[in-house]
Amino acid sequence: MSYVVPIGPYHPALEEPIHATLYTEGEVIRDAEIFVGYNHRGIEKIATERNAIQTLVLVERVCGICSHSHAFTYAMCVEAINKVEVPKRGQYIRVITAELERLHSHLLWMGIACHIIGHDSMFMHIWDERERIMDLLEKLSGNRVNYAMVTIGGSRRDIDDDLRRDILKGCNDLKAPLMKMVDFVVNDKTIAMRTKNVGVLTRADAIRLGAVGPHARASGVRTDVRVDAPYSSYDDFEFDIPVVESGDVYARVVVRALECVESIKIIEQALDTLPEGPINNGNKLPKIQEGVAVCRHEAPRGQLSHMVVGSGKLENYRVSVHVPSYKNTPTIPHMLRGNTVADAGLIIASIDPCFSCLDR
């Protein structure tokens, strides 16, 4: 028997609104279609009426989880147009915030993955550890989300010696439980049975469809903006890019777990070698000069790109935001084919989707 099974836009297995139509034969999905656009807020349009500092506040609200990434990338674009040099200390503080954000985003996703798999106690353990990162971010910026750490030409808040020690200690304390978690996620039989050979995206497909970030790295594509096109002092730090070949949901869990370890490495290096000096170039409201810039940033979910067009006024002429989910979401139908309906929720969640980013 063949059925058409609709999932979403509001569904217990999904964090955010997406609609998927599954064409099934019995239990098996033969084909699938996805529909987006339930969360469109017209942020690109609003941005054309705002000045650079107001836009920083606006683009941070594109997404709750990767909020720093948006402000970071937008600021890089304006700095590229205006040819502003960011002080080294400011760059390091941006990197530290970005990596803390990556940590909390990956832990959040791993928790949700465990929850969907049905491993609720693991979900609670992971989110307990995530809460430590959230506390560090709160100490650093004053906020749990929307950190407002970026200004045009640097960072808004400094890291003093006490805070530096606190973050280092927090990261150090996290290492043991994180290693335990990685070990558990990699070796546990329950997780392996539920995720191995589920939702496979082959390497050829990942390249053809242009997948990015951890999703592509789980399919054996070695791509990372931090290494391919270093920005904001990322070339000062030593870190590995975990790549797994198998391309299933299990690979995505493993890649993200290993990336957490690498993020801690970067934070420690940055804090150990935090340069002296100013953190920004002063709080003057900049005019956005005439010109175009496209900048890329490795957000927790992959490559994030902003395009900013300036016209010599305070306001932007055009801001265009393009997020990793824009490239990863079209891979979902390819992954769903041949799997069972019971795994559909897990497969859709496995790209770490962010549809509020996607719809903007």
Binding site: F35, G37, M307
Partner: protein, 134 residues
């Protein structure tokens, strides 16, 4: 460091460049578009060549060939977005379905353009015009 290189091309060069880039396994970052100050469409194809973004701009054309055949969904979604939001035509692109806009826009308005009116005009239309404050 990241760099941005602007290159002007004509619309006949869009497909050959995309084919060349695909052969070299170069990543298509995005297809951006906006109306420039003269009101002309400015469509740009951004390729990530190492740390440099090579941006190929087609200016003044509201009809360009689609590169969906070459870059699959990495090009299809941006093209569909530009088609919906600006009304530009990508020759060879399947626009029978909606990406961001609601489906019920398809029937009477055809092209799928939402005519955005300023709030003041809407108030006039609805007869709920505010009294001007003195």
């Amino acid at each position: 460091m990241q760099e941005y290189k602007r290159i002007e091309i004509t619309k006949d060069q869009v497909v050959p460049i995309a084919e060349q880039m695909r052969k070299k396994e170069i990543y298509l970052v995005m297809i951006h578009g906006f109306l420039n100050k003269d009101g002309q469409p400015d469509i740009s194809y951004e390729y990530a060549v190492g740390p440099v973004i090579e941006s190929y701009h087609v200016v003044g054309e509201s009809t360009v060939p689609s590169i969906t055949e070459i870059y699959d969904t990495a090009a299809e979604w941006p093209e569909r977005e530009l088609n919906e939001l600006f009304g530009w035509t990508f020759e060879g692109l399947d626009t029978s379905k909606r990406l961001f806009l609601p489906y019920d826009l398809m029937e009477d308005q055809g092209k799928g353009q939402i005519m955005v009116k300023p709030l003041s005009e809407l108030r006039k239309l609805n007869g709920t015009e505010k009294e001007e404050s003195k």
